[in-house]
Symmetry: C2
Subunit: 404 residues, 2 copies
């Protein structure tokens, strides 16, 4: 879309969508503080629970929220406006326009991941078809780190920090009381979060000793051979496994297990199978090792929702960048851009530097980025190149010192 | 035992036992820094993996570890010397004396919980019966907070902080995407850690909306009625459940489920059933709600080993007190005391003040303290009196602010 100097007069709507993160409110604060006081924009309306709040006319006026309160909201985990997993079709979008029209909304900012950018794209396309004047921007957010054209996405670095701190501690726990320990990490199609476990390796022999990401088809036989070898070598074995691991046919192991056990397999409006909120995958792998390898002490933890919501574990870089992403989207709209998404592009790793640039909504909408094959070592490890990529995002980790 | 002015000349052994905590190395550092340089004590030997290291003559010399390194070890989660769940009998203790005799050990410090204090008591009794001169001290440590005669125990406050921060975030996640969320918290017989979830309640309507501790017999029917009522009232429901909940007969629900599913039920040398490292209890309760209450979005997370090992979530009060407990045990030995355990006694809550005093080994050995009934509200809630007790231990929690 070409830039235009004449900005529409009206109100702005900002919403949050998809899985929350601990820095998603930084992006909300970035949008609000940049828009308010700007000529032509009267109200800044937060839609409650994403698009589902728009079609129900559920808005919160944000233009007068004092800056110190907005700052505290920015530091609070999870979506302050509530979230939604609705996927609007044409009829749904018609109801969005009706609400926007009633509220004289001319600016729409939607903070979310690839499904949310797709929602944003559909709303934008239908607005144009309907001749409804609307500035439509997507603000990136996802702990999965799977948006195309982004070096990384707001929310990922803090979740990666959680995983790194968890596995650092668990490695020491597993060293104190040796056995096999399995940690199940979030990530449906992309292994970025599971790969973050490499940061826990601080000294020789540290775990995770094995890492399984969804980019590599999972084989039960190979897994057992890997565990057997690592346990013999280290006298213990710490394993990071993505919840999204799947067999050769692409079917998630967790979904297969759920089906076998007679549990219902849930899907959201975007067709995604719910893999989280259950210990089934960890328990399956744990039982497998006990039975086939006759190792007595085998435990599994599923990190679950803590990875995206844990209060107090935040990457400072992530918080700052999430804020900047929100501000950038608002600035693009104020600069006369019609639509787009914001992408984080890395220009240097040492020193760490990034730029925020506008990309097309269609560049990210509904698309999934996965781990670069160069970061994957064989079928059960992650390369040092990934650590170099990740370290500046996550920041300084806690002290770990040994006596031996 | 009466105090004596003449201290035995010889070496000291310090060990760590039972489940690790994030501050157990503070106690280790406290023992080492207090003993070293003292007349008559030549070597300070860390036994690797508790008593199991003693009988294998596996020691690490600690007297020359530089203070700055010891400081970094103190800040590192989990037992730096390794841990053990062995429970020594008379024959085992005979081997301990043989090793002590060979190493000329005259001081023994064992950092652990109620099972570990029992180990300490048995070693001490047998040493006396054998006429082996030994100073024998237990240093308290347990995230379960279940030692008698202690206001609280080192390790608990940091684990409580983890639970509070986890549930604070999860409450906001559950508010953003409403449904029923179950969080399974550690604690075999005592509900202290599960009760720490009350700190997550910062504003009206915040979860946890229901809290189940092992001090109250668990009824499936009452649970379903509770969840149904809370869900109707709040439009969502966040539930904290102790892994140790049991039926009217005292049988743990998790152990019953494991038996029913054909899984092996593990017990350690102290007869404790392993309830951790599996998602079976959370998954059972989650399925129950889906089937009986027809609520669609139901999730369960089991916090697992992260509660005792997570790197970087530490209560400053806990770290300081764990250090002091180690120092106190060493000081008691140097002051001529023969044996004992260290207890933390609170003298004031506002301002928060504690004292460290010597108690008999038999006061804590193998005994379990549970939640004071005054802190339990009905069958599914915790009283404000518990929050007042807990707040000064846990310290300042992260900021949580809402827009509405």
């Amino acid at each position: 879309m070409a830039a235009t100097k004449s900005l529409p007069h009206g109100n702005a709507v900002v919403g949050q969508s998809g899985g929350p993160t601990v820095v998603i409110n930084q992006s909300l604060a970035g949008v609000v503080e940049t828009l308010r006081g700007q000529a032509g924009i009267v109200k800044i309306l937060g839609c409650l629970h994403g698009v589902s709040g728009i079609v129900k006319d559920r808005y919160l006026e944000l233009q007068d929220v004092p800056q110190d309160r907005l700052e505290r909201v920015a530091q609070t985990p999870s979506s302050a406006l509530g979230s939604s997993r609705d996927k609007p079709d044409a009829a749904y979008c018609q109801r969005i326009f009706e609400s926007f029209n009633k509220q004289n909304v001319r600016y729409f900012f939607y903070i979310g991941g690839n499904d949310s950018s797709d929602t944003c794209r559909i709303v934008n396309d239908l607005a144009q078809q309907a001749g409804y004047e609307l500035r439509c921007f997507h603000v990136p957010k996802t702990i999965d780190n799977d948006l195309l054209h982004n070096d990384h996405t707001p929310g990922y670095a803090s979740a990666a920090r959680f995983v790194a701190q968890a596995i650092m501690g668990d490695n020491l726990d597993n060293r104190a009381l040796p056995g096999v320990k399995i940690d199940i990490v979030m990530g449906r199609h992309a292994g970025f979060l599971t790969a973050a476990s490499v940061l826990a390796r601080q000294h020789e022999g540290d775990g995770p000793h094995l890492i399984y990401v969804p980019e590599v088809a999972f084989s039960v036989d190979r897994f057992l051979a890997d565990v057997d070898a690592a346990y013999k070598k280290h006298g213990r074995c710490l394993i990071a496994v993505s919840e999204g691991i799947h067999d050769e046919s692409g079917k998630p192991i967790a979904a297969k297990l759920a089906e076998q056990s007679g549990l219902p397999v849930e899907r959201d409006a975007h067709g995604n199978v719910s893999l989280c909120g259950s210990g089934v995958l960890g328990d399956f792998l744990s039982d497998l090792i006990k039975k086939k390898l006759s190792i007595k002490r085998v435990r599994a933890d599923t990190f679950g929702y803590l990875q995206r919501s844990f209060a107090g574990v935040v990457s400072p870089t992530d918080a700052r960048e999430a804020r900047t992403a929100g501000r950038k989207a608002a600035k693009l709209a104020l600069a006369g851009k019609h639509d787009g998404s914001v992408a984080i592009v890395r220009t240097s790793t040492d020193p760490y530097r990034v730029q925020f640039k506008r990309i097309e909504l269609s560049d990210v909408a509904g698309k999934t980025r996965t781990l670069d094959p160069q970061h994957i070592l064989g079928t059960s490890d992650i390369a040092d190149s990934f650590r170099a990529y990740l370290q500046p995002l996550v920041g300084k980790l806690p002290v770990v010192e040994s006596l031996s």
